[in-house]
């Protein structure tokens, strides 16, 4: 019976990773050919011309993710610390529940929400709106991982700080958070990787932009947007570029995941 269970679960484990392997195999065969230096340095070429690249979309994704991080991470880490320290207070319970619900909100709904509140009131699509939309996606993820990581810090460590005559906020900031930092950082990286691949929240917010344009109040391009746009176009050249962009995007996400995996291997250790 043990053998049967082991066999079944083993088969399940193999089946789970098969989609990733297939995706990779397909992306490599369909997209690798279109990746060259131009891809990373040039603007998209007009229809009919060959060549061109996605430099603006690459940078756009970087900017959007950084903006979302700048807006969302401080808030989310602060809220996570509050949840971990605030324990079972009614406010903490409410925030925790809300964060879980937020985590389940379809990303397209986030996009529409930010469109209604930011884009409509500003009167234009913009990098800012895209960044806010991605930040909203990031908030519940980072809040909950921060809470979990802070909770994992042994209470003896906190007591050690308190017993030394440190105030509670000093102990949290100087001892508990550093002890939890590799876990929090991992959570942040995973969340950033997640939002870097989001398309739906950007459709009605960042909108996309075929030119070099880096202003907060202007629309901006992003890799997932370009993939979407190119994939539904009727042109073979654009399809190839969409595959290439998908390969680059998944490469980025994979790199971030590997980095975070490396970080979590060394919890607490320094120098």
């Amino acid at each position: 019976m043990n053998q049967v269970m082991l066999g079944l679960t083993g088969v399940a484990a193999v089946l789970v990773v098969i989609p990733l392997l297939l995706i990779f195999q397909y992306l490599l065969s369909a997209g690798a050919g279109a990746i060259n230096l131009d891809f990373f340095t040039q603007l998209p070429a007009p229809v009919g011309e060959t060549g061109g690249g996605m430099a603006n979309a690459l940078l756009g994704t970087l900017f959007l993710v950084l903006l979302a991080g700048a807006l969302g991470i401080p808030l989310a880490v602060g809220a996570g610390v509050f949840l971990a320290e605030g324990g079972r207070s009614p406010l903490a319970t409410a925030v925790r529940f809300t964060a879980d619900v937020m985590n389940g909100i379809p990303s397209i709904v986030v996009g529409i929400f930010v469109w209604a509140w930011v884009v409509v009131s500003m009167g234009r699509f913009s990098m800012l709106a895209g960044g806010i939309a991605l930040a909203v996606m990031l908030l519940p993820m980072v809040t909950r991982t921060t809470e979990e990581m802070v909770r994992l810090v042994p209470k003896e460590l906190k007591e050690g700080g308190i017993a030394l005559g440190l105030t509670r906020w000093r102990t949290t900031l100087g001892i508990v958070l550093p002890a939890a930092k590799s876990g929090i950082l991992t959570g942040v990286l995973v969340a950033l990787a997640r939002i870097a691949g989001e398309t739906a929240p950007l459709l009605f917010t960042a909108f996309g932009n075929p030119f070099w344009e880096w202003r907060l109040n202007e629309p901006i391009s992003a890799l997932p947007l370009l993939i979407y746009q190119y994939a539904i176009s009727p042109y073979d050249e654009w399809h190839r570029l969409a595959w290439a962009a998908a390969l680059v995007l998944i490469g980025l996400v994979l790199t971030v995941s590997l980095v975070s995996r490396f970080l979590i291997r060394n919890p607490y250790r320094q120098s």
Binding site: E156, E159, G160, A163, Y268
Partner: protein, 314 residues
């Protein structure tokens, strides 16, 4: 505190345990007075219901008292953990708190530096005096209190920082030193006092988590010493250590007691007998008996005490 910046105190005072030595240690300023000479006269420790201090044999207390509990009771929610504890703790001596698990000795220890404040739903009656002032009084700054009353925990809990930073952190945050050189001196001094300097002096920037369990525990002691406490509370400091590391901690306690008032909770009878001058036996939240350690262990007055120390229960 004579020299708060370094925590350095005379390192080789005459042995105060020699009966003929006529009060070699003058009581430090600020400690509860009434004391002076008469080192050789037996110490009276008040055990009893209410009114604690001095209610024992009525003889004047020959040593300055660092801590006096007066009819102190404590509750976790509805559960009463301590029942009218009255206990005098002499300064610059080691007092061991013994008793079976759940008897309240750790609760009492953690009431002295108000660590129990962190637990919601607790309350107390009665008083614990440090230098004659209640630790719970509204004028008492709890942060100041914890600086004066250091604590060493059962499980060593070094911060996830470098060895140097573990010792320096409390002093820096509390603003005890201003220059780098002073801090270096404080760190070295504290590590020396904790008998750890020689083992770590070449690896101060390395993580404290790479140290062995016994080294970590001595680092925690050094960390406590660095903020210049007068009292050190130790909650089973050696219970997770091997015999050799335990021995080192015990030797360290022996050296520190000339300068610090030490309270140690221990489950190890031999350890209590080896390191302490006075022993208090707790049972079911009550203080059953307290006295000189050799008396408690050779000639206990209460039957419960004798039963416990001879291993018949607990």
């Amino acid at each position: 505190m004579a020299n708060p910046s370094t925590g350095r105190r005379p390192t080789t005072p005459p042995d105060p345990r020699t009966p003929t030595a006529a009060s070699p240690l003058s009581p430090p300023p600020g400690r509860a007075g009434g004391a002076g000479s008469a080192e050789s006269v037996g110490v009276s420790l008040g055990v009893g219901s209410a009114g604690g201090a001095g209610s024992g044999e009525g003889s004047p207390s020959p040593r300055p008292l660092a801590i006096q509990a007066e009819d102190f009771s404590f509750w976790y929610g509805k559960t009463q953990a301590l029942q009218g504890i009255s206990l005098d703790v002499p300064a610059q001596r080691v007092t061991a708190l013994i008793g079976p698990s759940g008897c309240g000795k750790s609760t009492f220890l953690r009431s002295i530096n108000r660590m129990n404040d962190l637990i919601p739903g607790t309350r107390h009656t009665g008083r614990i005096l440090l230098d004659g002032e209640s630790v719970h009084s509204t004028e008492r700054d709890v942060v100041e209190l914890r600086k004066r009353v250091g604590m060493v925990f059962q499980k060593s809990n070094p911060f996830p920082k470098s060895i140097y930073e573990n010792v320096a952190y409390g002093a820096r945050v509390n603003g005890l030193v201003s220059t780098r050189a002073e801090m270096d001196a404080l760190v070295e001094n504290s590590l020396r006092r904790a008998a750890l300097w020689d083992e770590v002096k070449d690896r101060l920037p390395r993580s404290a988590l790479g140290l062995s369990g016994g080294q970590q525990q001595r680092l925690c002691i050094a960390r406590a010493l660095a903020v210049s406490p007068d009292v050190i509370l130790m909650d089973e400091p050696a219970s997770a250590l091997d015999p050799l590391a335990t021995q080192k901690i015990e030797e360290l306690i022996h050296e520190l007691k000339d300068d610090y008032t030490i309270l140690i909770v221990t489950h190890n009878m031999q350890q209590a007998a080896r390191v302490s001058d006075f022993t208090a036996f707790f049972f079911m939240g009550e203080l059953v008996e307290v006295g000189r350690t050799e008396e408690i262990f050779t000639n206990p007055r209460k039957e419960q005490t004798e039963a416990y120390i001879t291993g018949r229960f607990g």
